[in-house]
Symmetry: C2
Amino acid sequence: MRIPYSDICKMLSTILIGKGMDEVDARLSSRLFADASRDGVYTHGLNRFPLFVSYIDRGFVDVKAKAECESRIGIVERWNGNNGPGNLNAYRAMERAIGLSHDNAIGVVALRNNNHWMRAGNYGLEAAENGCIGLTWTNAMPNMPAWGARDARIGNNPLVISIPYKDTPVLVDIAMSMFSYGKLEQYSMEGKECPVDGGFDDEGRLTRNPDAIRKTRELLPMGYWKGSSLAIALDLVVSLVSGGRTTRDIGELEVETGVSQFFMAIDLSLFPDKPQMESKIERTLSFIDSSKPRNEGICVHYPGEGMKRIREESMRSGVYVADSVWAKIEALL
Amino acid sequence: MRIPYSDICKMLSTILIGKGMDEVDARLSSRLFADASRDGVYTHGLNRFPLFVSYIDRGFVDVKAKAECESRIGIVERWNGNNGPGNLNAYRAMERAIGLSHDNAIGVVALRNNNHWMRAGNYGLEAAENGCIGLTWTNAMPNMPAWGARDARIGNNPLVISIPYKDTPVLVDIAMSMFSYGKLEQYSMEGKECPVDGGFDDEGRLTRNPDAIRKTRELLPMGYWKGSSLAIALDLVVSLVSGGRTTRDIGELEVETGVSQFFMAIDLSLFPDKPQMESKIERTLSFIDSSKPRNEGICVHYPGEGMKRIREESMRSGVYVADSVWAKIEALL
């Protein structure tokens, strides 16, 4: 079904206020969930809202808790998320990084004790919509085997880079696993194979079968040893700079909570060549878009271009929500 | 053959001085080439030295030129490499980023007009050996098709993250292509297949055959669309922040020169929990190393662990250099 964006925001907001969240926070948190689905990231948008609410009910997410600055080291601020709502804490950490970048061209906030931030790309968009390059990542519970291993001891640690560009930023939002569990579940529901190998089956063979991978939980890192190495380094950097938990530490908790996150903004408006930047970006993007396609009739796109089309359709015809997901959300009222 | 590290440094230094480089620079540049081979990165160490010298002879690399600071925006310094030797410029840009990080916890230098920096990992090691986390990347000429494309319009844009750890840092040094041309050439010479798909053959099928890929020049991005997107974003960020050339712009030059690079250092010594950091890193690395291996008898390693073993062997028994490579270098005397 398709539901108007503003109706979704109202519905989620009402539910969150019912759970004790204050009104301003509920509006922002709801918008962040709605934005994810609006842009086609259903797995970390409305699909995940019922789980988020269950984490409030079970006491893992404290709706009243706010992130706060604990210390400042040089230009780096260390914040404590106090196990508040993950998307609100992350939004406010990036907001502060953007604010700091107005003074120093670069702003950095390292956040510990946060809950799952839902869609990573939201905080990249936030930076870009404020005229900043955004660079942000999170660690996660152990959910992927390191390259050469069978048991999950590293996180898929999503990484985001965003660049302001016209009305829709260039946005890279990638987990270090080839596919997230949410994406595997989606392929299963649609009766599809993964487009490329996504993990190992129970005989240790690489497979595209989403059910086989969900059974073994042996996800393939993107680029094999490359994504594995990157995931390990991102975890170490974020936990050292924030003073927060490593993936290993998170694995000792009952559920995935208390993660560590890094937010960096670069304020392009301070650069003297800012007026030339849009055309510089445009030259690169149009060069890529006019590549010779591998398969005739299939266009080559830059990162964020697909999102732009889905977003326009969502705002025109309503945001797509699976019937079963909407039913679950209505039941939370 | 195996040659003592110090003999290699002396030999390369003598050649560079003969090309007009001053003595201090020649010693540093030679050491950086030798370090790459010492650590097992032969493709960007001694194997590439003859090409570097030919670029001096042809006037692309100006041995007398030095990188210099052009402007400062907040804490970001913009440097111009003036087409000097790529490894010297990069080393000094990271040196400055490290210096800046002592004041602000974070130091950033964006460098334009540089030549190829050879082994990317050297500048990550430089940061880590000075107690800093290092984050650095470069753009490159168009040498890889974007995902879904056939013609090379994006760069493989190597990315480095380093973390200080005991005597050998944790080091990730990855190009956005699954394999570099140097690596494909090495597999060809050894009569080996790539361990995983590395590109497309002339019928558009994914292949592990290094010669087929070298023929089409249709490299596969690591993680398919993920490495492709990351390469595009890294190119935009580095060219905007440095005010330098994009991959597209570099493609208009006669050879790969005038690239843009980003250097960031985070000084961990300023953080109050510095004394606990080594054991925090150790807990994560030993957790990963004790993973259940996919293939019995094959250990799981953290990034940089393999390098450490090769480095120790090089310092004990001499640095490995292919006979043909050493013959070419001797001919440059």
